[in-house]
């Protein structure tokens, strides 16, 4: 039997219980909105922006910024959890559900790879972007999404660690076989469930 580890003299600062229940293991609460990215912030003018769905689909789809804005919009409030350990509660986003974008599409794909300006990619099972679980959002707290937070538009899949919610997203590639994205190729977990603390490969 090993003796449980205790940090001498550490008491810690517990969150209020109703907030603590919303924090996955190892996370702490922030009030601000931290920014994380691997390189310079890309800036794509809206007239050159589009969003496309390609890969293993019967008919690829593409929307210009204007067309995208005319799709049914949803406003959702979600807690978000970053693998660097901060969580932010009740973040409010506006955008288009992936269910809307994928509606009526025939595919044998089981996975998606989100691709972005700045060459960022991230992979998710198709089941994790359908059924009311993911959106392409272009507004945060009622204002256009700032470039450092992923504007003009980012993926929002808040049930997974936030690196899966790819900034500057430009489309989804539907895939029969899973393909690791940027961080997933660099030692981070392939799926990234914060409630199972799947931070790094092998967790």
């Amino acid at each position: 039997m090993s003796i449980p580890f205790v940090s001498r003299g550490f008491t810690g600062r517990r969150q209020r219980s109703e907030e603590a229940q919303r924090l996955p293991p190892g996370q702490y609460l922030v009030r601000g909105f931290p920014v994380l990215s691997a390189g310079p912030t890309p800036r794509t003018p809206l007239e050159r922006w589009d969003f496309s769905i390609v890969g293993a689909v019967d008919q690829p789809r593409r929307w210009t910024w204007q067309e995208f804005q005319q799709l049914p919009q949803e406003t959702i409030t979600k807690d978000i959890h970053c693998v660097t350990k901060w969580s932010k509660l009740d973040t409010m986003w506006t955008g288009v559900s992936l269910d809307t974008l994928l509606q009526g599409m025939t595919t044998s794909a089981k996975y998606v790879l989100a691709f972005c300006d700045g060459d960022y990619t991230t992979n998710l099972p198709l089941d994790d972007v359908t059924g009311g679980k993911a959106w392409i959002v272009h507004a945060y707290a009622g204002a256009p999404l700032a470039p450092e937070h992923g504007g003009p538009a980012r993926l929002l899949a808040p049930h997974l660690y936030f690196w899966k919610s790819a900034k500057w997203v430009r489309g989804l590639r539907l895939l029969a076989e899973d393909e690791p994205g940027f961080w997933e190729s660099l030692g981070y977990h392939n799926y990234g469930d914060p409630w199972k603390e799947q931070r790094y490969a092998g967790d």
Binding site: S7, A38, D119, F182, G187
Partner: protein, 260 residues
């Protein structure tokens, strides 16, 4: 093709010594048994456990070059921690921890914001405040292996006393013509200060940084406003975006922190 990596497990590390770097910043030299090694730029997760089992985890950048062996059975790994007055973990690490104590760690973590000598350069390293830490691991490794890669460090701090590793940086710059260290002090300057005293801007980068024709490799680490601004300026200077790597640093990754 997936690369199979061993699972990162929590392990106990013991504190060998503590180094007061600045009034708010301490380095923790840890002995980590069975350490597999790291790459300059990577970080380490630290976990604290209270008597009732409550735990808190944070990530800290590794300041030491890879390859430092301890006198025991492990490796010496140095973390540098800035004390955040309203922080939960950093005041414990800087104020409570003493040699002989143990902390739980797991890592190394992060495979992007890293540099190995064989990747070459020239290197442009831009730091704000405690964002110097992962860059210091690169500078130390370069010196430790005798790499000829030219390096230019532009380091923004609020004041002279807040420059982390100042003596070591000055010594490395004095000893090696291929190491350039430039400070800018944004809030207060000592009497007779001849250096920069403003936030990093285009004119400063043009004066200090490598020309884009030299195909520099840039690493930028600090609070978000600095990182956003410097990375954008580097692109404007003609740097290849793929060769500009960024990492946010500070209390919560940056957005709520003040800019040095």
């Amino acid at each position: 093709m997936a690369i199979i990596r061993p699972r990162l497990v929590w392990q106990r590390a013991s504190v060998l010594r503590l180094i007061q770097e600045t009034p708010q910043v301490k380095s923790l030299v840890l002995e980590v048994p069975g350490w597999e090694g790291h790459r300059a730029g990577q970080h380490l997760d630290v976990r604290l456990t209270a008597e009732d089992g409550y735990q808190a985890e944070r990530s800290y950048s590794i300041a030491s070059a890879p390859g430092a062996l301890s006198s025991g059975a492990g490796a010496e790994v140095t973390l540098t921690v800035e004390r955040l007055d309203d922080g939960e973990v950093s005041p414990y690490l800087t104020d409570v921890l003493r040699p002989g104590d143990e902390v739980e760690v797991r890592g190394p973590i992060g495979g992007w914001f890293t540099w190995r000598p064989e990747e070459g350069g020239p290197l442009l390293l831009v730091a704000g405040g405690s964002g110097i830490v992962p860059l210091m691991a690169m500078i130390r490794q370069r010196a430790a292996v005798g790499s000829p890669v030219p390096v230019c460090l532009l380091y923004s701090c609020r004041g002279y006393e807040e420059i982390i590793y100042r003596q070591e940086l000055d010594r490395l710059a004095a000893a090696d013509a291929d190491v350039g260290v430039v400070y800018t002090l944004t809030r207060s300057q000592p009497v007779g200060w001849q250096g920069y005293e403003r936030r990093i801007d285009q004119a400063m980068l043009e004066a200090v940084a490598w020309a884009p024709e030299e195909r520099p490799l840039a690493f930028v680490c600090g609070p978000t406003p600095l990182v956003e601004s410097v990375a954008t300026l580097c692109v404007a200077l003609g740097y290849t975006p793929e060769r500009i790597k960024t990492e946010r640093f500070g209390p919560t990754g940056g957005a709520t922190s003040t800019t040095p």
